[in-house]
């Protein structure tokens, strides 16, 4: 094992993080559950009205119609919560890395610290995502258990013998593909967040969002300018794969990630306290 990355020291760096922020980490599943509850029972929503304003659905038929017509796929935005939560989790740690004499003189290399904080954040995001998937499946199972038979019966009565229920209703989970795409976007933001915390002493969150929005605008502008002209006559939507092959975009993504993390590591290493 190299002098810069030693497993036992990496474990200590992880323990240091876990010991400091374990309470916050433990509460993340509850936090996500709370937001699921908020989303389903937001005042004015169908579940809120069903519970607290029964007059809104005088009969079962209206309720079933509401269930079939109300979109609930915006619950995917709950996946943004683990990002916010991970930022809160690690906020103090970056402050300590930037300012603490003790931490910067602890015999743990900056590579070990970089790997530890990355693993900790990935673990936090993974935990949040898994909680989301779990709650999503449980809620879908529960709604199906309660109403699916009634919905099918209602549709049959309407003469719809081959019912097609909207994928965005409460009867379908968020597709794993969509979750995967959001996770990739979230992971791409992580090094930027790290960099903003070591580069900017003040207003790092604000500057992080400015940096992020700037990068996304540049990226989309570049993609737009690369768009083949013939496509303008095409009625089909333009996909990223048409502009940049998947393999190239994957390589670009990995290179960007590694470069950003390397910049973070060097900035951390060269920081004077």
């Amino acid at each position: 094992m190299s002098k810069k990355l030693h497993i036992s020291r990496l474990k200590i760096a992880m323990k240091e993080l876990f010991q400091s922020y374990k309470l916050l980490l433990y509460t993340m599943p509850l936090f996500i559950l709370f937001f699921f509850a908020v989303l389903y029972f937001v005042p004015g929503g169908i579940f809120y009205n069903r519970l607290f304003n029964p007059a809104a659905f005088p009969n079962q038929e209206l309720w079933i119609q509401a269930l079939l017509s109300t979109r609930f796929d915006e619950r995917i935005f709950i996946l943004l919560l683990p990002i916010a939560y991970t930022m809160i989790l690690t906020w103090r740690h970056f402050e300590v890395l930037n300012k603490s004499e003790r931490i910067n003189l602890t015999p743990i290399t900056y590579l070990e610290r970089t790997v530890a904080i990355t693993l900790f954040c990935v673990a936090g995001l993974l935990l949040g995502t898994l909680c989301f998937i779990l709650y999503d499946h449980i809620s879908v199972w529960w709604f199906k258990h309660l109403y699916y038979e009634q919905v099918l019966h209602y549709l049959e009565q309407q003469g719809d013998l081959y019912p097609s229920i909207g994928k965005s209703t409460v009867f379908f989970t968020i597709p794993i593909w969509n979750i995967g795409m959001i996770s990739i976007v979230v992971l791409s933001l992580m090094p930027l967040y790290f960099l903003s915390r070591v580069f900017f002493k003040k207003y790092s969150v604000f500057l992080f969002w400015v940096l992020m929005v700037g990068i996304w605008i540049m990226l989309f502008s570049a993609l737009y300018s690369l768009r083949p002209q013939v496509v303008s006559a095409n009625i089909f939507p333009i996909r990223l794969q048409q502009v940049i092959p998947v393999i190239i975009s994957t390589i670009l993504y990995i290179v960007y990630w590694c470069l950003a993390m390397a910049t973070f590591y060097h900035k951390l290493k060269e920081k004077e306290i």
């Binding site: 020291r9 003790r102 015999p107 900056y110």
Partner: protein, 279 residues
């Protein structure tokens, strides 16, 4: 061994802190680092342990360039800062997590020191007072057995019995392979420990001398002495610094000596044999 060569440092270009300082600090001593507020005592310690990087010149500590912050170097250095920034865990957790990073860490020694300081190791650090947290940090610092121990105002916040304990512990801790540098304004707390003085003044290391060497050149007397190099009035009469022409041994009054240097910039030049002073 700490070798400082032509060290210059500033935070802002127009605010020099150190200008071309050179010194060699050997193991086996307790160095007292003195200077007025804002003269750069903490900065000096930070440059030695690699928290700050020299603008010009070099610092070599135990053969390492501190700014690279190599693990081998860091595991043999401990810095007791004035502000205690220990994590809010229990003392046991703190010990379990960080103790193993120091190869010479002595757990039973740590526990003995805590007992001497009357701190319960089952306590949570966040529930301790500033003074108690300082004691935990000092106990940990001594238990690491590092060959370089830097202390910035270590007696700040310690109660009177703990200051006595601290002196005893430090006297036992010094050994031929260890370098200890203590920066303090509370010189009376530790003056019996210090065997070498480093005084920072006007961007330079104005004095780098052992108490033994100084003792040979000056002596301290109470009363009225017209030939005194420096006189200070105290409630119980005047105290004086005189040239030691007859090899007389008197207890070295670091506070008076430091006041003489601070109040009379030409004091050091007045000393007849100034071979160890910075040019």
């Amino acid at each position: 061994m700490i070798a400082i060569n032509n060290l210059s440092f500033h935070y802002k270009k127009d605010m020099t802190i150190f200008d071309n300082i050179s010194a060699t600090l050997s193991p086996g001593h307790i160095y007292g680092l003195l200077g007025l507020n804002g003269v750069g005592k903490t900065t000096f310690l930070k440059l030695i342990c690699g928290l700050l990087f020299p603008k010009t010149g070099t610092v070599k500590t135990n053969g390492f360039s501190p700014s690279t912050r190599e693990v081998t170097f860091l595991s043999d250095v401990y810095f007791v800062t004035d502000e205690v920034d220990l994590p809010p865990w229990t003392i046991s957790n703190f010990l379990d997590i960080y103790g193993s990073l120091y190869p010479k860490f002595d757990r039973s020694y740590f526990e003995d020191i805590l007992i001497a300081f009357q701190v319960n190791r089952r306590e949570k650090i966040k529930s301790l007072s500033y003074g108690q947290r300082k004691k935990v940090n000092i106990a940990f610092a001594l238990a690491t057995n590092t060959s370089l121990l830097l202390m910035d105002e270590p007696t700040n916040g310690l109660d009177i019995p703990s200051k006595t304990q601290f002196r005893k512990l430090m006297a036992r801790h010094v050994s031929p392979d260890r370098t200890i540098i203590i920066s303090t304004h509370q010189i009376r707390d530790i003056h019996q420990l210090i065997d070498h003085l480093l005084i920072l003044q006007n961007y330079t290391l104005a004095l780098d001398a052992s108490i033994d060497e100084l003792d040979k050149q000056i002596k301290f007397r109470q009363g009225t002495y017209p030939e005194a190099l420096y006189t200070e009035s105290r409630p119980n009469g005047d105290v004086n610094i005189l040239a030691n022409t007859n090899g007389e041994e008197t207890p070295f009054d670091i506070e008076l000596f430091f006041n003489a240097i601070s109040n009379h910039p030409g004091f050091l030049k007045q000393l007849s044999n100034a071979k160890y002073l910075q040019p």
